[in-house]
Amino acid sequence: MELLIGAILARFQFDFRQYSRSSLRRRLDQALTKFGMPTVSALQAKVLHDADFFPKLLAYLTVNTTEMFRDPDSWSSLVKNVFPYLATYPSLKIWIAGCSTGEEIITLSILMKEAGFRKYVIYATDINPMNLEHASRAIYPASVIPEAQKNYLLAGGKGTLSQYFEGAYDSVKFSPELLKNVVFSDHSLATDSVFSEMHLISCRNVLIYFDRTLQDRVFGLFDDSLVRGGFLTLGSKETLNFSKTFKNYDVIDNFNKVYQKK
């Protein structure tokens, strides 16, 4: 596995050295099955010799499972504790770091729309360009809707989720309106640098796949990217508490991982 990681770093400058090994092992096992390869060495050989292969492999190396309005309490905390502050700015810059296939973007866009926000830009980034493409289409399986609708309401949704999408056969397409204020960009939290002057950064269930060193790098990046008074929100099992940057923040909601830069 280490040789493959080294090869990917050398050839494509994607740095997986500080990702959780147990998680990467599982992802590689899935990739081996999917691509019908016997060993990680075979995978490595293909990565090095076949330029078209790496993007396909990349889709397997990162965990892309995500749901709309997941951890609805966390979203309602955002609406209750953070939105009132955000409303005081004439315009907003928001960064969703690790947006995966876009469910989180839809979630935040809907909540912001319902709260009446107009002047804002959401920078949605992910290490995998295929995820960004998927997110920009806003098409999802219809099977996710019942759970999403339930969580939309728990998060404080004011209407009904069906206002925001149209269905056809097994899929639903969310309104392009929701992506009007979104800028997609590929970005690696392991290697790339800051997005400046952000008022809100949301990074959920991405850091759990990183070791502590990489988590620290990312927290440093976020700290440099946030305006004073800006907010950071993490996944429900992640925490800022062990980071060197923790002293720069007030804890707004410890349970739901909402922090404000002092």
Binding site: E2, S20, R21, S22, S23, R25, R26, V63, T65, T66, N205, L207, I208, Y209, F210, D211, R212, Q215, G235, K237, E238, T239
Partner: protein
Amino acid sequence: MTTPHRAPKLIVIGASAGGISALHQILPSLQNTDYAVALVIHLPPEGPNLIPSLFKDECQFSLKEAESGEELQGGVIYVAPPGYHLSADPNGTLSLSNEEEINYSRPSIDVLFESASFAYKKSCMAILLTGANHDGAQGLKSVARLGGTTIVQNPRTAEFPMMPESALAVMKPDHILSLEEISRMLRELR
């Protein structure tokens, strides 16, 4: 892979239906703090994790919910949070994951056992207890293959025998034990 510190040896335990009462019997027997313990018990995903508070008064080991990136310490039982997979990494830390359910479970016992087998090899001990599904069988196979010690609760004495039985259908563990025998073994660990 370099280990930054001397990680304790690891015992991984998996339980499902009937697990709480089984754990009441065996967890208090953990004495040797050269070991760390990681535990997956199938619970509803949205609920709070009550496991640490349920057992803390009767155990010598301390209990806590596992945190992402946490370094394993001897004498501690790390419990998987509801809704997340728990894995042991080769650098002596634990990690959490939101990957899909495995065997309809998240946390999955297979995920914990398999990761522990790679990270700890011969220093890994895996114990599979009562349950009403098939989780853990493949994980136990991996532990055995990589030289670890495997223990399955005797299906005849398990409240829900299905999980132990599915393991026995695919592998031969080092020991098939009743809860009392597991307790004795844990008390006598060197």
